[in-house]
């Protein structure tokens, strides 16, 4: 039996998809039916109506940022809010475009429209990540948790250090430093998921080299430590991939949130200016 999992997209039997489609179709129908003097624009009665609906939807979507932090709130589940956020946000493309009447220019009005489209685009980007990346992140860790990987790495480190007690101070120092070194050196490595200065990788190379020179018991220990460090490196790379995906998952918000705040500013300027010079 397959368990069909409900997502934010299918939430409540596509409740908000239906609502958004209804609003969009109604807006298109009204636009087609409306024959304003001159040509359609934001200043006709339909223009004002669509503008008001659009502005209210934008405020509702902005409120999602507040709602999701109100853990005690009972005003709908966050899941429900997110579902509405996605579908109503998408319907804004239609409502706001019809509100413009396809009149664009180098002014604050088109700035607000462009910012709105930018916010929606970054939202689509984020939505794609939210649907795709959790699976990839799970796959990257091969079914284990991040902490299990950390414990395994710590165990390998302990084991390696125990084994390496009789090996050189230099190696012991390197093992100790690698145990305390971060996954990534610098922010941008989190986007590539690779750390060229990985100390474990350096130790693996070092052990491979020293293995050629050693003999007997020392060579056997060296190989044992080498095997463990190779295992550690493999785990580290999986963790790095996981963190890379996690970073991307969080990255879109650095566009989505500030752009939406910029939209709030431009929208305010748009509305005030329109009525200031009515």
């Amino acid at each position: 039996m397959t368990i069909k999992q409900s997502t934010v997209l299918t939430y409540g039997g596509f409740r908000y998809l239906k609502l958004s489609l209804l609003v969009s179709v109604a807006a298109i129908a009204a636009y087609a039916w409306h024959s304003p003097a001159l040509k359609p624009n934001g200043g006709t009665w339909l223009g004002y109506t669509l503008g008001t609906i659009g502005a209210l939807i934008i405020l509702l979507l902005l409120f999602f940022g507040i709602r999701k932090r109100r853990y005690k709130s009972n005003a709908g589940t966050v899941r429900s809010w997110l579902s509405a956020h996605i579908y109503l946000g998408t319907s804004l493309i239609i409502i706001a475009t019809l509100h413009t009447g396809f009149e664009f220019g180098w002014n604050v009005h088109t700035l607000a429209y462009a910012l709105m489209l930018a916010v929606i685009s970054s939202g689509f980007w984020g939505m794609y990540y939210y649907i795709r990346y959790p699976t990839l992140m799970g796959e990257a860790l091969r079914g284990e948790t991040f902490e299990q990987h950390l414990l395994a790495v710590a165990a390998i480190d302990n084991d390696s250090r125990a084994l390496a007690m009789n090996l050189s101070d230099q190696l012991n120092k390197a093992l100790l430093e690698s145990a305390n070194s971060p996954l990534f050196n610098g922010f941008w490595q989190r986007f590539s998921g690779k750390n060229p200065k990985c100390r474990t990788a350096a130790i693996v190379n070092q052990l491979a080299e020293s293995g050629k020179k050693l003999t007997g018991e020392q060579a056997r220990i060296n190989e044992a430590v080498y095997t463990r460090q190779l295992q550690k490196l493999s785990r580290l790379n999986r963790m790095r991939e996981h963190v890379r995906l996690k970073t991307s998952l969080d990255l879109w918000l650095i566009f989505h949130v500030p752009l939406s705040i910029a939209l709030l500013a431009a929208l305010t300027a748009h509305i005030v200016s329109v009525f200031f010079y009515w």
Binding site: F146, M165, P182, V257, P258, L259, A265, A266, W278
Partner: protein, 610 residues
């Protein structure tokens, strides 16, 4: 020597869990190395850290960390009870040794490796979330410039200049007028009035061509914040724009809601206003005019819903006096009142006789356009003049037998002077008036001036002849044909006549425009029954039925032209009786409108009819 080493670990609650082992050796090596008797398995402990041996005064310890580099120069430290020392993260206490043992040590790891995996895992994931710039900071970095540049600065700018706005608007309007009238360079100056205005970013679209000199001068039109563009703002420049219903005629509340900008919407491109002016974009005439009496109980205007379905018979201006303003609007149905007062005798039927009308050179075929010539506007006709349109037939000769000379078409005194001159000359030169005409007689030949004594001597005869000719001209032949002539008191002993002044022509239909040049496919007689008109009092304007033969209403009909209100009517009702370019809102026009309204009031019309 024999040593008891107790390793103390701690339970989660912190209780000590000791584990003791016995070491027997001459030298007890302390370090990380596997060969050490007292092994401390921690990477922070050197491979060979210390060495414990039995000294002269009991157990002693010496540092061996650097032994490989040439031996320790440290003195051995005695290990008496109570001594405590550190080796890496370990704390070692010397305690009372039980019987049989030389030394007892308690060892405890007091500095664990900082590798609490839970904390490490969280830290790594938290690090993954940590972006080089916070969303909050980035949000402020975007929010503040946008709100400042696009809202606060423009609004402050507008607010700061609100006191100066009238002066500024005056300057802009004045400069605009000068610029368009005289110096195109002025346009640049107008633009620079507030070229740096931050509110330019609020401009939703390109201004109309005629308003482009106002770019950057928003307040020229948007004079008051959060108030729609006011009519006064438009009228500051457009002084001659006429109202739909003049305020002097009536105060129509419905019209008060209709602003200039209700129909004339700017910011729609350079040619948009021109296009809008051709149509009633926002207008729905029928919304008021289909039941105009409901809105305006006293109005004389009839209800109109559609030209084909419901439109009253036309009203035409009929002259009721000789003054320019002596006009009365009369419906074409009202035949009793439909009498044009004019002092000219002019039967159209005689002139338009298909066989021709008698002229000096025989029969002349007269067409409408022989006299009525369309002027350059295509809307009206050039004024008819005696010289251009009548005199070729209606000659003013007085001695046709002997002379082609004519009296001037002017004052009685001028006519008398001409006649006296002529007959004096005739008398002096002893010209026989019964002889056939001599072409030279019309002019006084050079060198033939009669001596003054002779002129005086012949005067009585010439005077009598002139008077007789004048009587004939005024009362029987020329003047009398067209004018109302009555004898008057003699002036300076000379006969005199009163010629009734001719009522000037006027526009018949003042509330609509009829372009004659667009109707040349029809004969004049299709609309104007001039060929059957026997009297100058006839009003030859066609009624609505005549128009309806070709013009449908708003709904298409076969073989007819779809005709909306704006095909014939303008919204801004201009008064054709006013001289051109008279500002609609000027005091003189207001006074005039009052007079017209008073003259057209029902009581006034009744009084005049009596």
């Amino acid at each position: 020597m024999k040593a008891l080493i107790t390793t103390i670990t701690r339970s989660p609650k912190g209780n000590a869990i000791p584990a003791t082992r016995e070491v027997v050796a001459d030298e007890i090596r302390v370090g990380r190395g596997a060969e050490c008797e007292f092994r401390l398995a921690d990477p922070r402990v050197p491979i060979h850290a210390k060495s414990i041996s039995k000294g002269e005064s009991g157990p002693q310890i010496v540092d061996t960390t650097n032994q490989v580099r040439g031996g320790s120069d440290e003195r051995p430290q005695p290990l008496t009870v109570g001594v405590t020392f550190r080796i890496g993260p370990f704390k070692v206490d010397v305690v009372e040794a039980p019987a049989g043992a030389d030394l007892a040590l308690n060892v405890e790891l007091v500095q664990a490796l900082p590798e609490n995996t839970k904390i490490a895992g969280k830290a790594i994931l938290a690090q993954a979330r940590r972006l080089p710039i916070s969303r909050r900071l980035l949000s402020w970095m975007l929010f503040l410039p946008i709100i400042l540049w696009f809202l606060v600065f423009p609004a402050l700018n507008a607010k700061m200049h609100s006191d100066k706005r009238m002066a500024e608007r005056g300057a802009v309007a004045g400069k605009a007028q000068q610029a368009t009238e005289a110096d195109p360079k002025m346009l640049m100056q107008v633009k620079s009035v507030s070229a740096l205005a931050p509110d330019t970013s609020w401009n939703p679209g390109e201004l109309a061509r005629g308003h482009q000199n106002l770019v950057g001068g928003c307040k020229a039109c948007h004079s008051e914040p959060f108030v729609r563009v006011k009519d006064e703002d438009c009228l500051a420049c457009h002084k001659s724009a006429a109202d739909h219903v003049s305020k002097q005629v009536a105060n129509v509340p419905q019209l008060a809601e209709t602003r200039c900008a209700t129909c004339h919407i700017d910011h729609k491109g350079p040619l948009a206003l021109l296009e809008q002016n051709k149509h009633y974009y926002m207008g729905n005439c029928a919304s008021c005019h289909s039941d105009i009496k409901a809105a305006m109980p006293k109005t004389l205007t009839g209800n109109v819903s559609d030209f084909a379905k419901e439109h009253p018979q036309f009203r035409v201006n009929v002259s009721i006096g000789l003054k320019k303003t002596d006009l009365m609007r009369v419906r074409l149905d009202d035949k009793a009142k439909l009498v044009e007062k004019t002092n000219l005798k002019f039967p159209h039927d005689v002139h338009l006789d298909p066989k021709g009308v008698k002229g000096p050179q025989g029969l002349v075929k007269v067409e409408c356009n022989t006299c009525h010539k369309i002027d350059a506007t295509g809307l009206k006709f050039k004024p008819i003049t005696m010289k251009d349109d009548c005199q070729s037939c209606h000659e003013l000769r007085f001695e046709p037998a002997v002379s082609s000379r004519q009296v001037p078409h002017g004052k009685v005194s001028e006519v008398m002077t001409t006649l006296r001159e002529f007959y004096s000359y005739v008398a002096l030169d002893k010209i026989e008036l019964n002889k056939p005409a001599d072409a030279q007689i019309s002019r006084l030949p050079a060198g033939k001036i009669a001596p003054s004594g002779e002129r005086i001597a012949n005067a009585p005869e010439a005077q009598q002849k002139a008077n007789a000719a004048a009587k004939l001209l005024f009362e029987k032949t020329s003047c009398f044909i067209c004018h109302q002539v009555t004898p008057a008191e003699p002036v300076n002993g000379q006969p005199n006549w009163n010629i009734a002044p001719i009522r000037e022509t006027h526009v018949w239909m003042t509330k609509s425009l009829f372009p004659h040049d667009k109707h040349t496919m029809a004969d004049c007689s299709d609309c104007h029954a001039a060929k059957k008109s026997k009297s100058e009092h006839d009003v030859l304007m066609p009624g609505i039925d005549s128009c309806r033969t070709c013009h449908a209403g708003a709904k298409p009909e076969p073989d007819k032209v779809v005709s909306n209100c704006n095909m014939c009517h303008g919204f801004h009702v201009t008064d054709h009786t006013m001289p051109p370019n008279t500002p609609a809102h000027s005091p003189e026009n207001s006074a005039r409108m009052k007079a017209v309204v008073a003259a057209n009031a029902p009581q006034a019309l009744e009084a005049k009819a009596k």
